[in-house]
Every structure is written in structure tokens, then in C-alpha cells.
């Protein structure tokens, strides 16, 4: 790549050189002759003024920023999937005012049409009786939810957020490729893209009159907030959970809009009303942004195998006690088969012609259309009729690409059960510039445009979620297949007033807490704390045991054996293994898939954190990620156990520091802390029992101080070699030593008194009584009397405390689908 560091003229960049549209394909930035279109010129010249070096740096920072905010999506190329960083294109898509007017009007029209369609199909079904739609086009859709037939959604609307996927066809017009009515995704990513790119290119963003996004979200938020009864949990974002590919966005939107993020497990339906299980009991919830596909919403009336919904939600909807945005059943309008009928539907339902054309589609359930599709098979793509039009392209067959036998099979299938297929015109989409392999190349793209229903009608988000293909083949536009996303800058004809989601100063009510804490979130915070602390204890054991590798002393060997026994008890070692072996020590540290290794505890902590990512600082999440990398044998494979252990302990200390300094010390923090304190207490008791009670030698007591991270405190207080009584006092009874058992119990007592339901006028819970009793015992005992029996009693009491907390506040049961024929 040629690399002039200063640009001379308008487009002096190396990476701009030689940008040419694909032959015969319209490009958004450049005309056929390579000339830059007028509405791109200001942007490109501002970019040019930055100079290539500066620009590179900015984009580098943008990538880092996105990584730091944890912007991810889940890719399903491995079982369970894994998260990938969010790929954002360096250039926005610029949208001229004229194009945008056309798109806005067209998208609002479609939103109105889809709303009317759903009203009819779940209501009087006149479209069927009058033959506008064949009955089977509705009956064949898995999103036609029969339990909702005849149910008018509360508030009267099916759709509150609608989106259309658009592409520009060869005729220069914007075409609708698909409708999104189930729970349109991507608006949160669009926001994230905007924040990232406008921060990277403030000059360009400022030089152009770009419509802001915040106003749209503000109004969307207000219109939803008006749906929730006051006094309840407010609007909730209902997510399928962290395994969903767009979970990051659910958490992000919840945080941005100030709504509570809930999973089906958080919900309880009683007397056909919906409640959120919080640590302070059930709280009413009646308005949801639904990101859970409707079929999974209620195992009682929809998919009985769903483990992510809430039993009774459909009854609650039928009783008019809950509003879903969008209503259960709205996914019906996404059906591909319907694309062929939209022209007729617009005329019938709205008395209008469609402003934006559809990609031409023929449903093969009608003899004539099917015969026409077969006749021109080579010019068409054949797709399943009832998958959403937005679904992946993997199940689409391109007529022209089929060999003889496959073509014959397809024709046979079309003849036999045409109802299951549509034929679609293959549209070659226009391209936009995308950064790839060190230069700009033209790539086909689609843009998703959002409309929200408000009191005053539909409003359109002035921007969009743009996805570009990772090859010149326009059929490959999917994040799942490695495409890029780009910010969309809608240019205004006049100056744009800056706006932000922040309300005017005077309207802000001062708050010291953030809404309800769901029991599930509390449970995950509690276990996040416990697993972090468990990982720390395991690592300390491995490090202490492994360090004694070279010591050939009888006492030290006994210490090493005692430590190995503790690790065997935790599951990190298998019986007969010894830490003296470097490979064994490494396996105890990084072994994955074996319950009890340090890596396993970190993985469990990370899983728990993933369910509450909207409640944890992004620095905590990224440090936990770094910790997981440190214990990943594939990352820096040559690093030795000692080095890994040291690094992991430093990161654990950093996480503890971030939690202590960055998290408001409210109920959620208390659950996290209680998890940590209980687990640390248990670990200390294990250490004391093995090295200070069962056997006590100079070697074991100094190992005990090392494990309890109290060697320095001891040395400062006592100028003698470790002796049993002072060591036990320091690690068991000194409630000023943050590693001592008594310290954990003191802290647990302080937190237990502040738990929900522990007010002065209420009777103390079991958890509270347990911890008070323990505190009293710790105060009463002398170091000399600490024996195996005492250690075992305290240990049992801590475990009982953990159970009592779970029983009272947390989620502690599995949910099973009832099976009528149990397999034996």
C-alpha cells in the first residue's frame, strides 16, 4: 500500500486510491466513472485532512474502545457458541436527505400495513374469508400462534418496534428484503456503532449535519414507560439469556434505557398477573420489550419444551394484564411467503400502493405461481416459505447454481408440496465502501431501519443498522457469516440540534439505587463472588504446594501432602497425584472440563457474570476475561505454573479492588460480597484444619500463613518463628485481619443486617440468626481451644448460611418440563 502521510487534495489517502465500483453495480460512494458522489465529499475531505497515520490511530482506538465496552455477539460455529468482538466498519454509510425521505415514508407505511395485517389475522380474518390471503399461508407459519387467536393485545397494538431490511436495487430504488416484527434486533448495536464512530471521527461528524439517534430512543422509551403501571418493576427487557447471539445488545439497551433486564426464570405468574422475583419479594411487571421469541415464552401454551420462558404468560396476555413490545404472535408478519402478497395487502388494508417495492416473491402454494417459478427456475432463488425472510441464506437454493439431479429433486419437491416454498427474484444490491485488507473495497450491504409506535404515530430512527457482506456475493450478508456492520449517517438538509438521552437538569429525580434486584441477578452475583474466591484459594494452594517441589525436608513433604489432599478434596487433583510434578500442577491450574481446577472456577465465575453484565463495570468483565486467558493453556502455552499463578492472583486482586471501588454498595454488591466472604471463610477453615490443627509444625504453620496471605502481618507482630497459638489467632479469630475467619463472619453479620426484610420491626431471618450466633461463638473462643471440632462446626454453619440465603433470596431450583411418559 502506498502510504503518503499527509493528504494533499480531497481524497489523497492511499486507501482511497483505485476505489472503483463493481462492474454494472451501483455504488453508494462512487459513480460509474469513479467520481465521488456529492454527499460523500465533505466527509472524505475531512477524513483526508486527518492524514493516514492519524486516521489509522483513530480506528485502532475505536477497535480498542469497542473491545473494552465488551461489545460482542455470539457465533454458533462451535457447540454453545462463543463471543466475537463486534466488527464495525471504519466508514459510515452516508444517506442523502432525498433517499431518507423515501425510506421514512416507505417504512412507516409498511409498519402500518403489518399492524393492520396482524390485527386482521388474529382478529376477524376477513383477509382469509375474502380470499386476499390463502388460509394455508397463515396456518403454515410456525409463528401463527393459535393460543393468541382472538386475543386483542393490551393497549391495542401488536407492533411497538418495527424494522425493515432494505437494500438498493439495480433500479436505484430502495427495496424491502425482509420485515422484522418479532423483536427487531440491532438498534442497540446501531447506537454502539454511532458512539464508537462519532468518537473516532469527531471532525467529520461535526462537519456534517448528521441526524442524532438519542431523540428516537427518548421517545421510544417514553412511549413504553407509559405502558407500565406505576409502583411495579417498570418496563422490563425480556431476554433469552447470555447464550442468545445478541444478548450483549439486550443488556446494553436495558442499561441505556434504564429498564430492568429479566430472563423467563425471573418471572412468576400468579392469578394471571406477571411478577418479577426480586430479593425483596415479588414485584408486579406488566410491560416488556420482548427479545425472547414468542414460541418460547410460555411452556404451558406454546413450546412445552421451552426452559427460558415463564409458565402462564399467555394467560396473562389473554387476561389483558401485560403488554409485550411486540405482542406475542407478531412474528407471523415476518413470513417469507407473505412477501408475495404485500402489494395486494397494502391496497386492501391501507388503500395505498406500496412506496417501497418488495423483492419479488412467488409463493408456490398456488398452482399458477408454482408453474411460473418452475418455468423460470434458473433466474430465481428458492427458499422455505415459512422461515422468516430475514433468516440465514443457508437454506436458499439458487436455481442457476443447481446441477441436473438437484434441480430435478427441487422441481419434484415444488410439484409435490409447493406450499412449503417460495421463489424469489435475485437482487443484486448496491455496494458501499468497506475497509478490507488494507484498502477500501465495494461490498453489497443491507440497512435495517426502525420505526417505533408512539402516541403521535410512527416515528423512524434517523439512522440504522447497516450490514455489509464479507464478499462481493450479496447473499452472504449476515453477522453469523463474518460480515461487518457500519454506522448510518443520515444527512440533514439543515443544521441538526444536538440531543442526548439525558433529560434537562431540572427533570432529573435524584436516585441512589437502580430499580429492582432480581433473585436471579442476586444469585449470579453471589456465585460470581463465591467462584472468584474459590479460584483464588485453589491457586494459592497450587502455588504453595508447587513451590515446595524442591524442598526435600520431611516436614515440608508432609505440608505438600496436606496441600495435595486439599486440592484432591476440591477436585483440582485426582487421588495419587502430586504437585511435585510440574504437569500435574499446571493441570490443576488450567485444566478445563474438570470440576475444581482454578480454570474451572474462573469459567464458572465468568458464566455467572455473563448473566449480570449490565450490573458489573465493564472493567470487571474485561479483567475476568483476562483472568480466563491467563488460565487458558492455549494462551502463552510456554508460561510456567508459578508465573501463571502469580499473574492470576494479581488479576483477582484487581477484580476485588474494582468491585470494592466501582460498585455502589447496595443489595447487589452485598450478595457478591457475601458469596466472597462465605467462600473465603470456608477456604481459611480448610487451610487451618489441614495445617494448623491436624498437623502443626513450623513448616505447616508458615505454609498456613502463606496460604492465608498473612506472613507479613505475622512477622510485624511477632518476632518469632510461626507458633501455633498466634498463627491460629491471626487466621481464625482476629477480626481485623481481612483473611481471618472472624473477619469474614463480622462482614457477613454487617451485611446480613442490611438485607431486604431485615428491618428493625421484622423478625430476624434464619440467615441473620445463623450469622449472629456464629459471631458470638467467634468472640467467645480462645486460640488454644480451636480444634478440629470447632473448625468443623464453623464450616457447617457457613454452609448452612449459604443455604439459608439461597432459600430466602435466590433461585435455587431447576425447572423441569413435566413428562407424561417418563423414560426409565
Amino acid at each position: 500500500m502506498a502510504a503518503p502521510t499527509r493528504s494533499e487534495g480531497l481524497f489523497g489517502f492511499g486507501f482511497m486510491e483505485g476505489y472503483r465500483p463493481l462492474a454494472g453495480v451501483r455504488d453508494e460512494m462512487a459513480g460509474e466513472d469513479g467520481a465521488i458522489r456529492p454527499h460523500w465529499r465533505v466527509f472524505l475531505s475531512t477524513l483526508g485532512l486527518l492524514g493516514q497515520e492519524e486516521a489509522e490511530q483513530r480506528f485502532e482506538q475505536m477497535a480498542q474502545r469497542l473491545q473494552a465496552t465488551g461489545a460482542t455477539y455470539r457465533v454458533f460455529d462451535t457447540p454453545g457458541g462463543r463471543e466475537r468482538p463486534w466488527p464495525v466498519s471504519r466508514l459510515p454509510l452516508l444517506m442523502s436527505p432525498g433517499d431518507w425521505r423515501e425510506i421514512c415514508a416507505g417504512v412507516v407505511q409498511r409498519a402500518r400495513m403489518q399492524e393492520a395485517l396482524l390485527q386482521d389475522l388474529y382478529g376477524p380474518q376477513t383477509l382469509i374469508a375474502d380470499g386476499v390471503l390463502p388460509a394455508s399461508i397463515v396456518a403454515g407459519s410456525p409463528e401463527f400462534l393459535r393460543p393468541l387467536v382472538g386475543v386483542r393485545p393490551r393497549g391495542g397494538k401488536f407492533l411497538r418496534l418495527y424494522a425493515a431490511d432494505l437494500g438498493r436495487g439495480p433500479d436505484g430504488r430502495w427495496w424491502v428484503m425482509a420485515d422484522r416484527t418479532q423483536g427487531p434486533s440491532g438498534a442497540g448495536y446501531a447506537l454502539e456503532n454511532r458512539l464508537a464512530l462519532s468518537a473516532a471521527l469527531p471532525e467529520a461528524f461535526g462537519a456534517l449535519d448528521v441526524h442524532r439517534l438519542a431523540g428516537f430512543f427518548q421517545r421510544f422509551r417514553e412511549s413504553l414507560a407509559a405502558l407500565a403501571e406505576p409502583g411495579g418493576a417498570g418496563v422490563c427487557v425480556l431476554t433469552p439469556g447470555p447464550l442468545n447471539e445478541t444478548y450483549f445488545e439486550h443488556a446494553y439497551l436495558a442499561r441505556y434505557l434504564g429498564f430492568l433486564l429479566v430472563e423467563g426464570e425471573d418471572l412468576a405468574v400468579r392469578d394471571d398477573k406477571v411478577f418479577v422475583r426480586t430479593v425483596a419479594g415479588l414485584r408486579g411487571a406488566d410491560a416488556f420489550i420482548r427479545r425472547l421469541d414468542a414460541d418460547f415464552a410460555d411452556p404451558l401454551e406454546l413450546n412445552a419444551q421451552s426452559r427460558i420462558g415463564a409458565p402462564g404468560l399467555v394467560r396473562a396476555a389473554r387476561a389483558g394484564n401485560v403488554t409485550f413490545a411486540n405482542a406475542l404472535g407478531s412474528g407471523l408478519a415476518e413470513s417469507r411467503a407473505l412477501l408475495g402478497f404485500h402489494g395486494a395487502l397494502a391496497r386492501r388494508l391501507l388503500g395505498e400502493e406500496l412506496r417501497l417495492p418488495n423483492v419479488a416473491t412467488w409463493w408456490c402454494g398456488q398452482g399458477e405461481a408454482r408453474d411460473a417459478v418452475i418455468a423460470q427456475l434458473s433466474a430465481l432463488a428458492i427458499a422455505p416459505a415459512f422461515s422468516p425472510a430475514s433468516s440465514s441464506y443457508t437454506d436458499v437454493q439458487v436455481g442457476a447454481e443447481l446441477d441436473g439431479p438437484r434441480r430435478a429433486r427441487l422441481i419434484e419437491a415444488l410439484t409435490r408440496r409447493g406450499v412449503d416454498y417460495v421463489g424469489q427474484e435475485i437482487v443484486s444490491l448496491s455496494t458501499m465502501p468497506v475497509w478490507s485488507e488494507g484498502r477500501l473495497t465495494p461490498r453489497p450491504f443491507q440497512i435495517r431501519v426502525y420505526a417505533a409506535a408512539t402516541e403521535d404515530g410512527w416515528i423512524v430512527m434517523p439512522g440504522g443498522f447497516c450490514r455489509a457482506a464479507n464478499s462481493a456475493d450479496a447473499r452472504a450478508i449476515s453477522m453469523q457469516m463474518g460480515g461487518l456492520s457500519a454506522d448510518v449517517w443520515v444527512l440533514s438538509e439543515g443544521p441538526v440540534a444536538p440531543e442526548s438521552l439525558l433529560p434537562a437538569e431540572g427533570d432529573i429525580e435524584v436516585k441512589r439505587h437502580v430499580g429492582a434486584l432480581t433473585s436471579r441477578a442476586a444469585d449470579n452475583l453471589f456465585w460470581f463472588g463465591r467462584y472468584l474466591e474459590r479460584a483464588e484459594a485453589t491457586i494459592r494452594l497450587i502455588r504453595a504446594g508447587h513451590a515446595r517441589e524442591a524442598l526435600n525436608d520431611r516436614d515440608e513433604r508432609a505440608v505438600s501432602a496436606a496441600i495435595s489432599a486439599l486440592l484432591i478434596g476440591r477436585g483440582a487433583l485426582t487421588p495419587h497425584d502430586t504437585l511435585l510434578n510440574r504437569k500435574v500442577a499446571l493441570a490443576a491450574l488450567v485444566g478445563s472440563g474438570q470440576v475444581g481446577t482454578a480454570a474451572d472456577s474462573v469459567a464458572a465465575a465468568r458464566r455467572a457474570a455473563s448473566h449480570v453484565r449490565e450490573r458489573l463495570a465493564t472493567d470487571v468483565i474485561s479483567t475476568v476475561d483476562e483472568l480466563a486467558d491467563t488460565l487458558d493453556p492455549a494462551v502463552r502455552p510456554r508460561s510456567d505454573p508459578q508465573e501463571r499463578a502469580d499473574r492470576a492472583l494479581r488479576l483477582l486482586a484487581a477484580i476485588a479492588g474494582l468491585i470494592g471501588e466501582n460498585m455502589a454498595q447496595l443489595t447487589g454488591w452485598r450478595f457478591l460480597e457475601m458469596g466472597r466472604r462465605i467462600e473465603r471463610g470456608l477456604a481459611t477453615l480448610d487451610f487451618v484444619r489441614a495445617l494448623g490443627v491436624d498437623h502443626a509444625s513450623g513448616a505447616s504453620l508458615s505454609a498456613l500463613l502463606e496460604l492465608g496471605d498473612s506472613s507479613i502481618t505475622y512477622a510485624q507482630r511477632y518476632f518469632i518463628a510461626p507458633a501455633r497459638r498466634p498463627v491460629l489467632d491471626l487466621l481464625m479469630l482476629d477480626d481485623n485481619n481481612p483473611r481471618a475467619c472472624a473477619f469474614q463472619i463480622r462482614k457477613l453479620g454487617e451485611m446480613a443486617r442490611q438485607m431486604p426484610g431485615e428491618g428493625a420491626d421484622e423478625s430476624a431471618s434464619l440467615a441473620r440468626r445463623l450469622v449472629e450466633r456464629l459471631s458470638a461463638e467467634m468472640i467467645a473462643i480462645e486460640a488454644d481451644s480451636v480444634d478440629a471440632g470447632f473448625v468443623a462446626r464453623v464450616r457447617a454453619a457457613l454452609l448452612e448460611l449459604s443455604d439459608a440465603l439461597s432459600e430466602r433470596y435466590l433461585v435455587n431450583r431447576n425447572r423441569l418440563a413435566f413428562s407424561y411418559r417418563v423414560d426409565e
Binding site: Q125, I128, A129, D130, G131, P134, A135, S136, V138, A139, G140, R146, P147, V149, P299, L300, E301, N303, A304, P311, G312, R315, G365, Q366, F386, R416, R417, V419, D420, N812, R813, N814, R815, L816, A817, F818, S819, Y820, R821, V822, D823, E824
Partner: protein, 291 residues
């Protein structure tokens, strides 16, 4: 013919269940040839709340909310039902004509053929089953004759075997095994008919426990039974056949619920909250002519 039907199901759990919700579809429904003279239903824990309702297909459902901790759940249903033998199906149009008519009906009401044309949750389509079914459907054959032939072939080619399959066995697996229970036979037949474009429904219900004097013992009478209805055009309507016993449904079958497949009409389903697992379900059913 008047029958008395009694049914008891008992499900037990490893650990206590503090909360559960169920949907029961255990009670016979009124149809054109079947009228329920009396019926009753009770459950244990007796404190459970019962929420009677109807589903989309018109089946009687009872929602159950158990908020009392329990180790077992018992449902008892009884009914007295009068059943009339259906009129003989008579002459029906060629099956291809019926498949075409099914697409032309402008109706989405619960009995409309359109609902029963497509793959459903636990009855997906299968090329293998369709090819098997096709042998009963030569061009121009009257639909009822073809359906009856397919029912007889399934009965002849498949072995009734309660151990070969389980509640989640897909029709294609049961078809490969050529074994299963009434649920599997019904799903195989449904997948075959729909593959050919013939609307087919799943029926759950009761079968007379002891056959009429002089006839062979029936399979599937000791639990809730399942059979199939095929749509034979607007004039003839729905035609019910029992592939497990090679019987055209007459006076020996009592309908509890009709749906697209087992998932629509499962006698009991629901969600239980527990730390343990669900153990076996025991079912006892008795259907005898009223004394």
C-alpha cells in the same frame, strides 16, 4: 352406546416440588357423534387451583396451579359418554382432488383443513414416510379408500412395542424401527398423509378396554389412546381411523382432544420446580359399557 370412563395418573418426584403448573387434557369432549353425560376431575394436592378453559382447537383443558409442596401429583378423571357410530364414509373424491381442495378452503376456524397440512412440532415431514404412504395413494384412488389402506398397512408392518420408543421419538425413528405405540403409529400416518398434501389430525382419547364379545384384544386400551383423522373433502369431512388396531373408528373410541400432533393434546404437561428429577408416571384407564 354409553360408556363409563375412569382414569388415574400418578407422577412422583425425587425431591419435593414447591410449585408446579400443569395443563390437563383428560376429559372427553362433545362432538357431533359423542356427548358427555357427566364428567368429573380432581387432583392431589387437593389445594391446587383448577382453571378450566378451552384451547384453540376447542379441546377442554384444565390448568392446575400447585402451590403446596408435594412429592407426587395425582389426577383423577371420570366421565359417562354416549357414543354414536359414525355414518359410513361412502364414496369420496380422488385423493389428489382433495389435496387441491384443502388449499382452496377460505377458513382458519379450528376444524379448517389448513391447520393440518403442515409439519408440526413433533410430527415433521419425512421423505421416507411419504414414499411409504404413497404406495397406498395411486393416482385417482378415492381418498377414504387410500387412507384405509394406509392404516391397514401400518398395522400390518409395525409391531406394537412399548419399550422401543419414548415420548419424544420422532415419526421417522419409529418408522425406521417399524415399532412403537399408538402415538408413534399415529405420527407416522400423519407424516405420510401430510407429505402427500392430505390434511391429517391427531386424536387423543379412550378405547374400550375389553373388545366386544368375540373380537380380538385391542392394543393401547390400558392408557390413553391415540388415532388419526384424515380430511376427505368438504362433503365427507373428517374420517377417523385407528392404525394401531386397523379399525375405522366407530363406537369403541371416545375423543378427549384433537390437535396437529401429540404436543397439542398431551394428556398432562406443564412445568415443575424442583431440585430433583421426575420419576415414572403411572396411568390406569378403564372404559366399559355403562352398567
Amino acid at each position: 352406546m354409553i360408556y363409563d370412563i375412569r382414569l388415574v395418573t400418578l407422577s412422583t418426584y425425587d425431591d419435593y416440588v414447591p410449585f408446579a403448573r400443569h395443563v390437563l387434557r383428560l376429559s372427553p369432549m362433545n362432538t357431533t357423534r359423542q356427548s358427555v353425560l357427566s364428567s368429573s376431575l380432581s387432583v392431589e394436592p387437593a389445594s391446587s387451583e383448577l382453571l378450566p378453559g378451552r384451547d384453540f382447537f376447542g379441546n377442554r383443558t384444565v390448568g392446575v396451579v400447585c402451590s403446596e409442596p408435594h412429592h407426587s401429583f395425582i389426577a383423577r378423571a371420570s366421565a359417562r359418554v354416549e357414543v354414536a357410530a359414525p355414518a359410513p364414509i361412502g364414496a369420496t373424491p380422488p385423493w389428489e382432488e382433495v389435496a387441491g381442495l384443502a388449499l382452496a378452503v377460505r377458513d382458519l376456524s379450528p376444524e379448517a383443513p389448513a391447520h393440518f397440512l403442515f409439519p408440526s412440532r413433533v410430527a415433521p415431514l419425512s421423505d421416507a414416510i411419504r414414499a411409504y404412504a404413497e404406495q397406498s395413494f395411486p393416482p385417482g384412488r378415492p381418498i377414504a379408500e387410500a387412507v384405509t389402506d394406509l392404516m391397514r398397512r401400518i398395522h400390518a408392518d409395525f409391531a406394537y412395542d412399548g419399550d422401543a420408543t419414548n415420548v419424544s421419538t420422532l415419526p421417522e425413528e419409529a418408522f425406521a424401527l417399524k415399532r412403537g405405540v399408538c402415538q408413534d403409529f399415529a405420527h407416522v400416518m400423519i407424516a405420510g398423509l401430510r407429505g402427500l398434501g392430505v390434511p391429517a389430525a391427531y386424536v387423543s382419547g379412550f378405547l374400550r378396554t375389553l373388545p366386544p364379545p368375540g373380537e380380538a384384544r385391542r392394543e393401547g386400551a390400558d392408557a390413553m389412546h391415540a388415532w388419526v383423522m384424515a380430511w376427505c373433502g368438504p362433503a365427507a369431512g373428517w374420517f377417523a381411523v385407528d392404525p394401531t388396531n386397523a379399525l375405522v373408528v366407530g363406537e369403541e373410541h371416545v375423543v378427549a382432544a384433537i390437535g396437529r400432533d401429540y404436543a397439542d393434546v398431551a394428556p398432562i404437561d406443564g412445568v415443575i420446580f424442583t431440585a430433583g428429577a421426575q420419576r415414572a408416571v403411572e396411568v390406569a384407564v378403564d372404559m366399559a359399557p355403562a352398567a
